[in-house]
Amino acid sequence: MDKLLDFLTRNQNFVLADGAMGTMLHAAGLTSGGAPEEWNVERPDVIKGIHQAYVDAGSQIITANTFGGNRFRLMLHNNESRVRELNLAAARIAREVADTAPREVLVAGDVGPSGEILFPLGTRQPEEVRDAFAEQAAALAEGGVDFFLIETMSALEEVTAAVEGIKSASDLPIAATMTFDTHFRTMMGVKPAQAVNALYDLGIVVMGANCGNGPDEIERIVTDLAAAKPANVYLIAQSNAGLPKWKDKQVYYDGSPEVMADYALKMRALGVNVLGACCGSTPEHIRAMREALGL
């Protein structure tokens, strides 16, 4: 049986994942427009501290700092030749924290969007994107992740390329989420039920929704996902901590730990199996969620 499904089964099909990485990095001094992945090498202590804080708060899954770790996203920072180095470093840091945790903690290798629009709508050929994901996945696997988490996707073509690319590089399990942030669809127009069918056809059985426009919207989306999913599919929910606001020269998210605790209870009631949070969330939010859930 695969490691992720096995983990879920041993935990009565409900596990708590972690919260935001970017939000924590910006709080730690990452500048606007800066490259989070560089910190895997330059500030490994900070990355480790963030993972540790999530584990201490109750996370049973931690997500390596590799959201923008594919060559296309790294190219924005002239780091496209450092895919292996930065992903390997990230996976190892998370691995180390997981291995010294007081309970079983899995490491997810984070695979975020390429930022490219695929042909024919855009100019990028699917094979190029597939290769980029394969390259990233190989380094994450080498660094010791337990499974891959494809996140925040908006185009089905790109999820397909990601799944194919990862499978060509590793046999580890794959989970995937899409972001339904545009009138309850992804920005490319994909509806929750459509996503369920397409992901399932790709062989994904742990899937869901992340990021987006706060817990209220996620609630409706997860309801749709739950209604559409085959019986053997496990659901993921990772909402942002509310909505972004601008105050005192910085961005903050308006969802308090209490709001997220309430969200946690609602998600469990809707049948979510892997529960975490996204932009704006902190270990404090995860702790409030764990306490509310009585874990």
Binding site: G22, S32, G33, T182, W246
Partner: protein
């Protein structure tokens, strides 16, 4: 530059432009290009074609996108069709009637790769008679500054679509001040997560909610600057 108002055009031309808007809405690139050529043959000026066909069409696309009727693939197809038509109009806009009213540099700030809205603004500024240096996406302060110096620009336009990248606009403005360029350049900013309060907070001169407002604002800015100079 004043084009004939749509309502004052002959019926056949009105119909032609409405069809063109429909084709743009459907992302039918070849048809939009053909309609552009046809209008030119009938003696329509490039400014009029841009305004009544392309910009008016994009307006509807933008509204329906905002309302959740269209999604990104449709917006992209429409933008591509507009771009193809612009390839024909651009040289005409510069060589014919439309006088050059100013120089602008525009780009999407560092860390941000959204360029659909910014490109619309750039195309419409061109249409309004600006010479535009479009720096693309992921533009850092150095690149903005170099382009502003090279072109001796009047206006800097910055676009950001992410809450994580919009603060970078403040960084660019600080650099302008540090390097003594701030007084010479009018800074306009835009992008979905911005608002007037944010623009004021970071010391930009104006916030533009959409491309039409970006054109109006830029025109007004040039009138004021012209006034101050003359």
């Amino acid at each position: 530059m004043t084009e004939t108002r749509f309502a004052d055009l002959p019926a056949e031309l009105q119909e032609h432009y409405l069809n063109m808007q429909d084709d743009l809405y459907d992302g039918a690139k070849d048809e939009v290009v053909e309609a552009t050529r046809q209008a030119l043959e009938w003696g329509q000026g490039p400014g009029a074609i841009l305004a009544h066909g392309l910009v008016a069409g994009m307006d509807i696309v933008g509204k329906d996108f905002g309302a959740g009727i269209l999604f990104v693939p449709e917006v992209l197809r429409a933008a591509n069709a507009m771009k193809a038509a612009m390839e024909i109009l651009r040289p005409l806009l510069t060589e014919t009637g439309v006088p050059k009213i100013g120089t602008a540099v525009i780009g999407t700030v560092k860390g941000d790769i959204h360029d659909i809205g910014k490109n619309l603004v750039a195309m419409m500024w061109e249409g309004a008679g600006f010479e535009v240096r479009n720096l693309g996406i992921n533009v850092d302060a150095d690149k903005f500054l170099a382009a502003l110096r090279e072109t001796n620009a009047d206006i800097l336009g910055m676009s950001a679509l992410l809450t994580t990248t919009m603060p970078y606009m403040a960084t660019v403005i600080e650099r302008l001040t540090e390097e003594g360029l701030r007084d010479r350049i009018t800074v306009l900013v835009g992008g979905a997560p911005l608002n007037p309060a944010f623009a004021e907070d970071i010391g930009a001169d104006h916030y533009c909610k959409d491309a039409a407002e970006a054109v109006d604002t830029a025109r007004k800015v040039m009138q004021l600057r012209g006034g101050a100079r003359g």
